[in-house]
């Protein structure tokens, strides 16, 4: 069992970015878990089994983040994920997070493996049905305690929605120690506060293929 050593939750409300404030602030946030890196200090060829063991951690982070954001699962419009590996680990340990982090977050937001929700659930009138069709963008690095990482954010149903291309900086003061891993999930409840660069809008998603 993977034990969470430390849980860190970050929520922000952006009223404006020196332009006209919108009808309500943009809420974004991230949840991070600090855990011991079981592979620290050596090369372990067979690391993949840890992915299954990280599933409950992924679910806990996703659920805690949705609760902290306070807009409900259906209010989440963008997402991303990241990992920071302590100095005694390797970048590949961060890659362990792709599957358990991504799918935990998508399932929490309504995605179903058999496509029940995905098929035809989306429509322009309900641009955010919470089915999380899009790939979860990600980044990873090896870093010292307190390292900051910019977690990319894109629209949960269509990766090409331009207003939702964004990033949120996340750091946990004091973590990761050399033998630790920091796994992060991030979500946003809307587009950039002064988005005005055109491109595909969330109201124009038509293919429901996770991209457009």
């Amino acid at each position: 069992m993977i034990q969470i050593r430390r849980l860190f939750i970050h929520v922000e409300d952006i009223v404006h970015d020196f332009g006209p404030p919108g009808p309500k602030p943009l809420r974004r946030g991230a949840a991070a878990a600090v855990i011991q890196n079981p592979f620290a200090g050596r090369f372990e060829p067979n690391i993949a089994p840890l992915m299954d063991m990280l599933k409950p951690l992924g679910l806990e982070l996703a659920q805690r983040l949705v609760a902290a954001l306070g807009v409900g699962a259906a209010g989440i419009q963008g997402y991303g994920k990241a990992a920071i590996v302590g100095a005694d680990g390797e970048l590949e340990h961060g890659a362990l997070w792709h599957v358990p982090g991504g799918y935990a977050m998508r399932e929490t937001l309504g995605w179903k493996e058999d496509g029940r929700v995905a098929a035809g659930a989306g429509s322009p009138s309900s641009a955010v049905p919470g089915n999380a069709l899009a790939i979860v963008p990600s980044t990873k690095k090896v870093g010292p305690p307190g390292a900051a990482i910019d977690v990319p954010l894109t629209h949960i149903n269509a990766s090409y929605v331009r207003d939702h291309f964004d990033a949120i900086e996340v750091r946990v003061p004091g973590a990761p120690a050399a033998g630790e891993l920091v796994f992060i999930l991030a979500m946003s409840a809307g587009p950039r506060v002064h988005a005005r660069l055109g491109g595909l809008r969330s109201s124009q998603i038509e293919r429901w293929d996770g991209q457009r």
Binding site: F8, I9, H10, V11, E12, D13, H16, D17, A68, P173
Partner: protein
């Protein structure tokens, strides 16, 4: 709202394991930050009352955000602290005007009681400058298990004409505190010290 606010950031930090040992119950600390416009950026003003009013407003508002993030009742708060980072077009005294004259009144109301001094820190800084907000027990400053600090930082603030204002509230002391001194179960909580 008196303060012109650009952004709020609220962080919750929960420690469940320390040095391989379970922390029971886990330590839970919160810090809430507001990024505000500095009304006195770039000019000297003898009268800083506007910042004092902002401090009074933000003390209660930010403390309430911490209490909500912790998921506790106001009286369950254990320690607190406050801090400000002034952007380079301001002066250190602007932080003092926010933090010292009136912030404590509304902050204490949000954590019910608060007999002890609210420990504080201030500095000038730029985007992403971090400040360590000192923490002390809210009713008895000598409680040794609650001497602590929590880092506050906003990645894109303060701009030159902004101020980052931070309030921290906890529902615990340090993880695995064991250096003696006055314990929380020994306090009277009347004089603010013991």
């Amino acid at each position: 709202m008196i303060a012109a606010i650009r952004k709020f950031v609220v962080q919750l930090d929960e420690i469940r394991l320390e040095m391989g040992r379970a922390v029971e119950p886990p330590t839970r600390r919160a810090v809430a930050m507001a990024v505000i416009a500095n009304p006195f950026a770039g000019r000297y003003s003898e009268d800083l009352a506007e910042l004092t009013a902002i401090g009074e407003e933000l003390g209660g508002l930010l403390a309430a955000k911490c209490v909500a993030a912790l998921g506790i009742q106001p009286h369950e708060a254990q320690s607190y602290g406050k801090a400000a980072i002034v952007g380079e077009a301001g002066e250190l005294e602007h932080a003092a005007a926010i933090l010292h004259p009136k912030m404590g009144v509304s902050l204490r109301r949000a954590v019910l009681k608060g007999a002890a001094l609210v420990p504080s820190a201030k500095k000038l800084g730029g985007l992403g400058t971090a400040i360590d907000v000192p923490l002390g027990h809210k009713d008895a400053a000598f409680v040794r298990s609650h001497f602590d600090a929590i880092e506050a930082r906003v990645s894109d603030a303060p701009r030159a004409a902004e101020i980052v204002v931070a309030v921290a509230v906890t529902a615990s002391g340090r993880p695995l505190a064991r250096v003696g001194g006055l314990r929380m179960d020994e306090i009277k909580g009347e004089d603010g010290l013991r």
